[in-house]
């Protein structure tokens, strides 16, 4: 009796293991045996020839939107499949990758050869995978747009296009959106504090803070543990992190002035006490509830239309060492890229082109939290919303004030990804918000940057 049980258990285990083995691993494109008339195909009644092989192209997108993002992706993929791109039988398969440990997800996919054909993840990715030698050249897509639909092409803009090229001019990414932060304020709080004019520089912001504090509301709250705050402050003062000849400017005058300013705000109680521990979600909630006057955050698509009615957008403030002309804002481009390890490079390019042109649904239904780069897509997706339009005009529009976060570098390089990803320039600010001397933080940041330079053989 017992022996039978033991054998049963062993068999069950073996079966489980076997099924587990065959279950795992998606991603490599395969050639599936030809199928006759694909189900769900539209109308035309043309007979499909037997040699219409099904080609699979896979796309992985990081979870740019809400929990609906996966659904939106799947819908778009179905549309893509039904569209018979280039007249071929291409099945588009899509996966939504959570941000948690996304870096490892893509890395291990690459090292095990199970990566997709097309991907949209962190802005650091195209450069990173180009370094590893697997980024596909996407210039043909841009060339097609330039020739066939020049308006479309112009909307993308030269800055964005150059950002996604490597030093040799190879197009390693197709920029489709902007990921950037700006000043968003709560109108009611500002009204109650008697603020009638839009603050245009940091002195006026300090004055405004005093007024808000007098009404008993916390003036400002930030998400400190992220490069966006540090970059915002430095860039608005006309400064930047690293110069073109790899000089580390983390303790430059312009930076110090901003740190002193923030220290002043902190000491006067103008900044929420929990800033060192806040997530983007925390400060947004506070803003919507009127518990804080102003935050720095992404475009307020995270608020409902009703809530947005009470929000306003402030322009990039002029830093103490800057002027209206020299102030910058830092933002990042998000781009699609493709792997040259694909079994079907031609079809991959075709699908990517289609995907890029038709991804409105990822915003409207998927809740993608980035800002569409092209003005016409922005219009289509965020039709007529005043607040969102204001954000777009101030923080997205390439009116010369906007610079990428790697400025003055034109192209994005992998080592910068490490610099940004490891939050190297946040240490000084975090020290302020946790009551330590910010100079110590600067020392650490500089030391770590030097380490990164060494590891990547730069600037020596």
């Amino acid at each position: 009796m017992k022996k039978k049980k033991a054998v049963l258990v062993a068999v069950a285990a073996a079966v489980t293991l076997l099924s587990a083995c065959t279950n795992g691993g998606v991603g490599k494109t395969e050639n599936v045996a030809p199928e006759s008339t694909a189900a769900g195909e539209a109308n035309t009644g043309e007979t499909v020839t037997a040699s219409d092989e099904e080609i699979i192209v896979t796309i992985w997108e990081a979870q740019w939107g809400t929990e609906n993002y996966e659904d939106a992706l799947k819908k778009l993929a179905e549309e893509a499949t039904a569209a018979r791109i280039d007249g071929k039988n291409i099945k588009v398969e899509v996966q939504c990758i959570p941000w948690d440990n996304y870096y490892e997800t893509f890395m291990t996919a690459y090292t095990t050869g199970t990566n997709p054909d097309i991907a949209a993840q962190a802005s650091t990715a195209p450069a990173q995978y180009n370094d590893l030698g697997v980024a596909m050249d996407l210039s043909s897509i841009l060339a097609a747009w330039k020739a066939e639909t020049p308006e479309f092409y112009n909307e993308i803009g030269e800055t964005a296009i150059r950002f996604e090229q490597d030093a040799e001019g190879k197009q390693i990414g197709l920029p489709f959106a902007i990921d950037g932060t700006g000043l968003i304020y709560n109108k009611t709080v500002f009204e109650n504090a008697g603020i009638t004019e839009i603050p245009a520089n940091y002195d006026e912001l300090t004055e405004a803070a005093a007024k808000i504090a007098a009404t008993g509301v916390t003036p400002y709250a930030f998400r400190a543990n992220h490069c966006s705050l540090s970059n915002f402050l430095i860039f608005s003062n006309g400064g930047y992190n690293i110069s073109l000849d790899y000089e580390i400017l983390l303790d430059d005058e312009k930076v110090i002035h901003m740190l002193d300013l923030m220290q002043g705000w902190w000491d006067n109680g103008y900044v929420a006490e929990g800033t060192a521990g806040y997530s983007a979600d925390d400060i947004r909630k506070m803003l919507l509830n009127g518990d804080v006057g102003m935050i720095i955050s992404n475009i307020p698509t995270w608020a409902s239309a009703e809530q947005r009615a009470n929000l306003g957008i402030l322009p990039v403030p002029i830093g103490p060492d800057a002027t209206e002309e020299t102030k910058h804002n830092s933002m990042s481009y998000q781009a699609y890229y493709a792997y040259n390890t694909s079994d079907h490079p031609e079809e991959t390019l075709a699908v990517l082109k289609w995907w890029y042109e038709h991804n409105d649904i990822l915003y409207t239904e998927g809740g993608n939290s980035t800002v569409p780069l092209r003005a016409s897509q922005f219009d289509a997706v965020f039709r007529g919303d005043e607040v969102l339009q204001a954000f777009f005009d101030e923080y997205v529009d390439n009116n010369g004030c906007q610079t990428t976060f790697v400025y003055p570098f034109e192209h994005f390089e992998t080592w910068y990804g490490i610099f940004d990803g490891n939050k190297v320039n946040t240490k000084a600010l975090m020290n302020i918000f946790t009551g330590k001397d910010y100079r110590l933080g600067l020392e650490e940041s500089i030391a770590e940057t030097k380490e990164i330079f060494e590891a990547y053989g730069i600037g020596q």
């Binding site: 022996k3 285990a13 929990e67 659904d71 941000w99 983007a280």
Partner: protein
């Protein structure tokens, strides 16, 4: 008379202290359940542990299971945990017996290795295991994670089974052999039934450790369709927008097996800890 009254008042005091302690310790979990059952849009503004009357709702649960693939995550967790449990229990059951009943250099080696294992920091093992899995192509395959999980608590389980076997009388085996039974029959028919509680205990421990495990699960199972629930739970924190309602509902679902074992198999859990404790 006074003795009894003293005892009753001490008892009442005991109850009060215990209730207070339990309330404090249960606070996070009560809050979790309370939030899970709150209407989705009311979550952000809720100020009490449990939702106000009229704000009770199952929509967080239906949302989690229908709108996302969390249900699939739970199934993956179940497959991994059950497999790891069966295999892990098998390994410890067999080898625990050997460790108990046999002497010799091979066994002393194993015992020493087990002792050494206790002192290894988990992190030192994680990195090479991860790289090894990549090399062997076990990433994004359930079998990779199952393999890692069945080794969870390996030392503890072997020691536990060994101490259970130590308690079985040798005479039974000798009698069995005299009667002509093979070694395996002696093991399965005569000894195994005596250590069933031990097997139950280590099975529960392996299952719970596997079900709750995060680090290796997040490193080894990356595909959307192949995540365990500990990793899948993080999808409710997309780009720092934390959907607390869904997150708490997902968490509540995640603790169900643990609760199940707590209420129906507590005896074994407790036994596991204590017999290990007493034998030192």
């Amino acid at each position: 008379m006074t003795r009894k009254r003293k005892k009753t008042s001490v008892n009442i005091l005991t109850h009060m202290v215990l209730i207070a302690v339990v309330c404090v310790m249960m606070l996070p979990l009560m809050s979790m359940v309370g939030t899970a059952f709150t209407k989705h849009d009311a979550v952000a503004s809720s100020t009490t542990i449990f939702p106000a009357p009229g704000e009770w709702s199952l929509e967080n649960f239906t949302g989690v299971l229908r709108k996302t693939n969390y249900g699939k995550n739970m199934i993956v967790s179940a497959v991994v945990s059950v497999s790891a449990t069966i295999l892990g229990a098998l390994v410890s059951t067999f080898s625990g017996y050997a460790l108990s009943k046999f002497k010799g250099p091979f066994y002393t080696l194993n015992l020493s290795l087990m002792l050494l294992m206790q002192m290894f920091p988990g992190m030192l093992i994680t990195i090479p295991l991860f790289l090894m899995a990549i090399k062997l192509g076990l990433v994004n395959h359930l079998s990779g994670l199952i393999l890692v999980h069945l080794g969870g608590n390996l030392g503890f389980n072997l020691m536990m089974m060994k101490s259970f076997y130590d308690g079985t009388p040798v005479e039974i085996e000798e009698a069995g052999r005299v009667d002509g039974a093979t070694n395996f029959q002696v093991f399965v028919k005569l000894v195994l039934p005596l250590v069933k509680p031990g097997i139950a205990t280590i099975s529960i421990m392996v299952f719970l450790n596997s079900w709750n495990e995060y680090t290796m699960s997040s490193l080894l199972l990356r595909n959307n369709s192949l995540q365990t629930l500990t990793v899948g739970m993080t999808k409710f924190q997309s780009l720092d927008i934390i959907d607390w309602g869904y997150l708490m509902a997902a968490s509540t679902l995640a603790v169900i097996p643990a609760l199940f074992f707590m209420f129906f198999a507590q005896k074994y859990l407790v036994q596991g800890l204590t017999s290990g404790a007493i034998k030192g």
